[in-house]
């Protein structure tokens, strides 16, 4: 009968631990995916869809959930890519498309026919207008996602570069020889990443 004691002990232990785990999974349940939340917080929230997903949140879910590559966010640029790679614990990958200067959309109001199609397309609700009235863009809120360009039937929307504001100006990288060298080294390093990617 001695063999019954260990069986009994382990069965009791398993029961206690199992019950504990069951309670823990219920009472400490975390809503949503915390990893996806973290990735989403890093994304620039332009909702532009350049990553191939219908917005920043879906891309964050895809990166955190099914391990989609971290280099699809074009407006986020290299900094965002590195930060996401750091969180996900994967190797950084170079962004395929070139980084461009920040832009905002601008409606040439003379040509606008007031069709409201761009208003429906704007993911951040920054276009003002009514049917058969001029529309205009609140540039302070425009993320430069270019989603309003395509639905416009008269092509009256331009993307213009945001002017450099005095209060937002910051000092550039010191342009000494060493800084140039460091830049070059960094470029080579980036090239290596691209190489491994390919």
């Amino acid at each position: 009968m001695d063999f019954l004691y260990p069986v009994l002990i382990f069965a009791t232990l398993a029961l206690i631990i199992g019950t504990g785990l069951a309670f823990a999974s219920r009472y400490f349940y975390v809503e949503g995916d915390p990893l996806a939340d973290k990735v989403d917080a890093l994304l620039p929230q332009t909702q532009c869809g350049q990553c191939g997903y219908p917005g920043c949140r879906p891309y964050a879910d895809a990166v955190a959930g099914s391990g989609v590559a971290v280099n699809h966010c074009v407006p986020g640029g290299e900094r965002t890519m590195l930060a996401i790679a750091d969180i996900m614990g994967v190797e950084p990958k170079a962004i395929e498309e070139e980084e461009t200067a920040p832009v905002v959309a601008y409606i040439r109001e003379d040509e606008c026919i007031g069709c409201t199609l761009c208003i429906k397309a704007c993911p951040v609700d920054c276009i003002i207008g009514a049917p058969k009235q001029y529309h205009t863009i609140v540039t302070d809120h425009c993320t430069g996602c270019t989603l309003c360009l395509e639905p416009c039937p008269v092509d009256c929307i331009d993307m213009v570069e945001t002017p450099e504001l005095l209060e937002h100006w910051s000092w550039p990288v010191p342009g000494t020889k060493r800084a140039v060298k460091a830049e070059k080294r960094k470029a080579q390093h980036d090239g290596k990443i691209e190489g491994t990617d390919a």
Partner: protein, 543 residues
């Protein structure tokens, strides 16, 4: 426990009782304009007044093109709390209000009010003098200091009126008047103290009255002992020796920095993130004190300031009294500069000043010096950056107690979070580390780059958060619209069904009635009735 630790610290004199840590000593040979009397600058052909000459919110122009303005007339009114107005420097006509480059390293412009002087120099007298300031309420004096557009004239241009209030939590007991002027080349404060001692001390007296402090200290470095003597003499002449005294400190850069000055005078270090106010100390530049005097006792807004025009490309260096808005090109011409090719213009002192790309920029409230240097001189001092040899000299001279070599390395590699861990934002950008670096690393430049990038990242984060909220709200709205539509459709469908049902029932009922009408024959009813009776019978039997 903490008290015991402080006592131990004091007994071991770990926290330096006097003086601040770090710093460097410059020779006196650069102060070539020392002792040069203040010369008034002639009126230029055009005045340019940028609408923001202080730290804080920009002003809004209140004059129109073609309007005639008088000297001291407010031409741009402050917007928001952290803002002081801009005044016309002479009488004349507003020619245009448009963007003009300002003295800033970016070379960018700002909306500026252009005034063409008429040469009469008529003064606007809307601010009446308040010579009996002791009987005037502190709030009114504070309002006056604001209306006169006074901002810190030491170079930081923080609106002065904000400082001039007795705080409820932190009792201000000492007012420091900063006559240190530790930058090489600059001598404007020195000369001001020699020539306008009475005004400076009266200004300090007004400030003491406003903040109800009982002690005023005028701090002067020992390379300006003549100014200290003049100040002491004036103090005893005015009979203010009980409340105000002069303190002479050994010459050391950057003693004129607010935090360093407080540490040097009181022995107390202003903690990181803290304000001098928390130490019960208020510090102001001597020029600001004079501006406060002008505003209160003479009713004159801030329309001119003393500037040192110097540098090895200036044939006749001088301390000049310049109207704000005068072009630096004009000013340098007044000092004998003929050819502007091959010279570099620096705004401020050589340690903390900024190289300008243009000479056609106006003098603003924060201009304490204009240095024109030969390009060769600058290139001789300019070296290529070498690798850091970890000598630690930068850490030794840092007055903020930072490790500039590590900070610069982090900034260079874009590791801004680490740089912030190493207290990037406690750097006062005094330039002492760059000055002593044997490898000629432009350390302060890296810190400025890092600070700019951190601010940029913060702005982008805030914008992303706003965009997220807008996007989420839009999604919620669309979902609600869709749900509402569904609901409406459902309700409509239900109604339609109900109506159809009702119609059907009605029709059925009518049909029944019609049927009844049609089929109402006695035979049928009679045949029905017996059947019912047959059904009921068994129940009765049971009962």
């Amino acid at each position: 426990m903490l008290n015991i630790w402080h006592k131990i610290q004091q007994s071991l004199s770990l926290g330096s009782a006097q003086g601040f840590t770090g710093g460097i000593v410059h020779g006196n040979q650069y102060k070539i304009t020392a002792g040069h009397p203040i010369v008034a600058c002639a009126l230029p052909e055009l005045f340019i007044h940028p609408i923001k000459q202080h730290i804080g919110e920009p002003c809004e122009p209140i004059v129109e093109v073609g309007e005639r303005v008088l000297r001291g007339q407010m031409i741009a009114k402050p917007q928001g709390y952290l803002s002081v107005p801009v005044h016309a420097s002479t009488s004349g006509t507003v020619t245009c209000i448009e963007e003009h480059t300002i003295p800033h390293p970016s070379g960018l412009g700002m909306i500026s009010i252009h005034i063409k002087p008429d040469g009469m120099d008529e003064t606007d007298e809307s601010l009446h003098p308040l010579p009996n300031y002791r009987s005037v309420d502190a709030t009114e004096l504070r309002e006056r200091v604001r209306d006169a557009g006074v901002a810190g004239l030491g170079g930081a241009v923080f609106p002065t009126f904000i400082k001039l209030v007795q705080d409820q939590q932190n009792q201000i007991d000492t007012v420091l008047l900063n006559g240190i002027e530790c930058e090489p080349w600059l001598t404007c404060d020195h000369q001001l103290m020699l020539e306008k001692a009475h005004e400076i001390i009266s200004g300090l007296d007004i400030i003491l009255h406003m903040v109800e402090a009982d002690k005023g200290i005028i701090v002067i470095e020992d390379n300006k002992l003549d100014a200290a003597d003049v100040m002491k003499q004036t103090l005893s002449d005015m009979g203010l020796t009980d409340s105000i005294y002069v303190q002479v400190l050994p010459t050391r850069y950057p003693q004129g920095g607010e935090r360093q000055l407080i540490q040097a005078v009181t022995g107390k270090e202003v903690p990181a993130g803290g304000l001098p106010l928390h130490m019960g100390v208020l510090s102001l530049n001597v020029g600001t004190s004079k501006a406060v005097y002008d505003a209160v006792c003479l009713g004159e807004p801030l329309t001119e300031r003393i500037i040192t025009v110097s540098g090895d490309a200036v044939p006749k260096p001088a301390n000049m009294s310049v109207r704000l808005g005068t072009s630096m090109h004009f000013l340098l011409k007044q000092c004998g500069v003929e050819h502007f090719d091959g010279i570099k213009i620096m705004h401020g002192g050589p340690m903390m000043g900024e190289l300008l790309n243009q000479d056609d920029v106006p003098v603003v409230k924060g201009s304490n010096g204009i240095l024109a240097m030969n390009q060769q001189t600058i290139m001789r001092a300019h070296h290529q950056e070498e690798p850091c040899i970890r000598c630690g000299d930068c850490g030794d001279v840092c007055p903020a107690g930072l490790m500039p070599n590590l900070l610069a390395a982090h900034c260079k590699e874009n590791q801004f979070e680490r740089a912030e861990d190493y207290s990037l934002f406690d750097c006062i950008e005094c330039g002492a580390c760059s000055y002593v670096c044997p490898s000629h690393i432009p350390l302060v430049h890296y810190f400025r780059y890092g600070k700019g990038q951190v601010a940029q990242i913060q702005r982008e984060k805030t914008f992303a958060e706003e965009s997220r909220q807008r996007s989420e709200k839009r999604d919620a709205r669309l979902a609600k619209e869709l749900a509402d539509k569904e609901e409406k459709r459902r309700v409509a469908k239900a109604k339609k069904e109900a109506r159809a049902k009702a119609l059907a029932e009605k029709e059925a009922a009518e049909k029944v009635v019609v049927d009844k009408d049609n089929v109402e024959q006695p035979d049928v009813e009679q045949t029905d009735k017996p059947e019912v009776k047959v059904d009921e019978k068994p129940a009765e039997d049971k009962a």
